[in-house]
């Protein structure tokens, strides 16, 4: 049998020259979700109800019923999620071409700036500076904003204050650049949203959501372990659940990374 790329991949996975990196937070009731003004319906938290545990409720088995939002924990945003994407074809998780669920990923490291500035912004200047070092962002690739925010827990993660949450994100110009100049596939962050915590104060409000989904692009949120990825060269695996008319779903996000890149 002749060697194919896939059989090479299988061999590399077997001998760990290609590693699988888990970029997902554990779904757990204490994990923060986005908070909206109280008059609006809120994002459901993750909840588990044990319905049997090898006991009178079911003698030989254990299982749970789970409740959650499409947007709880590490999750995928489809274009249908935002008003700007409402009329696009194939805009829900069940109709997106699955080819989009595997692909190259670029990681822009903003961790140093985010460590000292909770409202750190990803700007076109920072993107161009990254490209100086690592080459132009290829078309149809994922771009992830690494902030190491995933290492924060509890109140620090959401970082909610009287004037709203404070966490890093892209400026409207940065998102427009990524979409219109680089035609990325999708954008991902380590925070609860693809937008900055103070994103409602941009014009338009929540520009990442607005522009990404308006252009039929995808979002990923609450990612973790981005510090384990190379700036480029990894392959991202991010397949949302096939929910009828779904606007997103929690999912297992993983990356394939070549050994010597780590």
């Amino acid at each position: 049998m002749s060697e194919t790329i896939l059989s090479d991949l299988a061999k590399a996975l077997g001998d760990q020259s290609i590693k699988v990196i888990d970029l997902t937070h554990t779904l757990d009731p204490d994990f923060p979700v986005i908070i909206l003004p109280p008059e609006f319906n809120q994002c459901a938290r993750f909840r588990m109800e044990e319905i049997s545990a090898y006991d009178h409720r079911g003698p030989a088995w254990k299982w749970h019923n789970i409740t959650l939002s499409e947007h709880t924990g590490t999750h995928f945003d489809a274009p249908a999620h935002w008003i700007s994407g409402r009329d696009l074809p194939n805009n829900s998780v069940d109709t997106i071409n699955p080819a989009n669920f595997v692909g190259p990923v670029m990681v822009i490291d903003c961790s140093e700036g985010s460590a000292t500035n909770e409202d750190f912004e990803l700007t076109p200047e920072l993107i161009l500076a990254w490209e100086e070092e690592h080459g132009e962002i290829p078309e149809d690739s994922w771009v992830l904003m690494r902030t190491d925010w995933s290492k924060k827990t509890g109140a620090d993660y959401l970082n909610m204050r009287d004037d709203g949450p404070h966490s890093p994100g892209p400026t409207p110009d940065a998102i427009r650049f990524l979409i219109h100049e680089r035609n990325i596939r999708g954008f991902g962050t380590e925070t609860v949203g693809t937008d900055a915590g103070q994103g409602s104060h941009y014009t338009p409000p929540y520009p990442a959501h607005f522009y990404l989904h308006g252009a039929g692009k995808f979002g990923l949120q609450c990612l973790a372990n981005l510090d384990l990825l190379p700036p480029r060269g990894a392959i991202l695996l991010a397949a949302p659940l096939k929910i009828k008319d779904g606007t997103g779903s929690p999912l297992r996000v993983m990356a394939l990374v070549q050994g010597n890149d780590i």
Binding site: P29, P32, I35, R45, M48, E49, A155, D156, L158
Partner: protein
Amino acid sequence: MTDPLPPPPKKNPQVRTVSPTRPPEARSRTALGLSAAAAEGRFALQHCDDCGKVQYPPRDACSGCLSTELRWKDTDTKGTLLAETTIHTSTKLYFRERTPWRTGSVQLDAGPVIICHLHGDCVRNGRVDIINRLDRSGQAVLLALPSQRSPHMEDDPQLRAMTSDPKHRRILITDARNPNTPEIVKALCDAGASMIFVGLSEAWRPSPTVDALSAMDKVDMLPLDVTDTHSVQKLAGAIGGKTDILINNARFLRPGGVLARSDTSFAKEEMEVNYFGLMRLAQSFGPAMASRTADGVNASVAWVNILSVHALSSQPEFGCFSASNAAARSLSQSLRAEFRASGLRVMNLYCGPTEDEWYQPLPPPKVTPQAVARTLVTGLQNGLEETYCGDVAKDVFERFRDNPLILERETTLAGDGA
């Protein structure tokens, strides 16, 4: 002279916990009228509509004129102690474990002679004041108090057995985020509580009450989210054996009736917190609390639910919220029955609209956190099952008791159009 009740020593971990026992529960149906009054802390007897004679023991026809028109009415509580005895042996385990137990014969100013429990400070042939309270079988009993207040009166063991007194007890308040929590904590501390656990949900979200509570004495804040079964189980595993009184003030509230809302989302949250939250708490904390009702000075004693009075009859402007409270109220009735054998008292505290953000557009009178706290503590001290805080709640309840269908109609008028 009542000896002040000293705080209990630490529980000896080598000694078996005493099983709960109860005074006799059997009562005729007519006598349950006295228990219904005791549930609200009222002293009511039957008065004959035709000749006015006041009846006791409860009966089905007037002992003066044979009329069957007997009506329960609030009655003068004053009387004179005619005779007393101190019981040293009893064939009923509950009393056997608690002798010497003092009882007496009192001639009420209203007429009848009653056999009653006797507070230790009552003086032979002296004037007394009768209170009607629920004993640990959940049935009404009459207790004579001295007509003058005496020091440490509430520490009399026979009286304390009929209350859910927070003094020397450890209390869990389930929701730190409720605006009424700091006032409830303060009132409980003033009433002698030894320790107050406060449940805090979603520590990743800030809240002004949390900061106020962190600064308060005797408060221990612990994670608790009543919508998360695991969280409830985890806290019960930690403090379930030390929870003497549980006060569930967790509340999710949004405006709107059925049609005013476009989906079931807020209603689900209301049910999740107001109904299922209660259920989770009961399933996790209930059994341990029920087993500890004879566990000494700080035995477990009460479960408090803070509900909207519109649990009785819907307030359409908050129709879905009312429904979730109706569900909680029904569940609390089941819980009360399930706790009956243990003697654990379920107290429902009903409020009208409260003085906080979601009732902001409603006109006064509204219930302040201080008022809730006061009613709650008084209710516990009197061992009540049903208590109403504020004018609106009292008013709604009176109308409900008078005729629930009239109440429903008068609160659901649509207004005259063109």
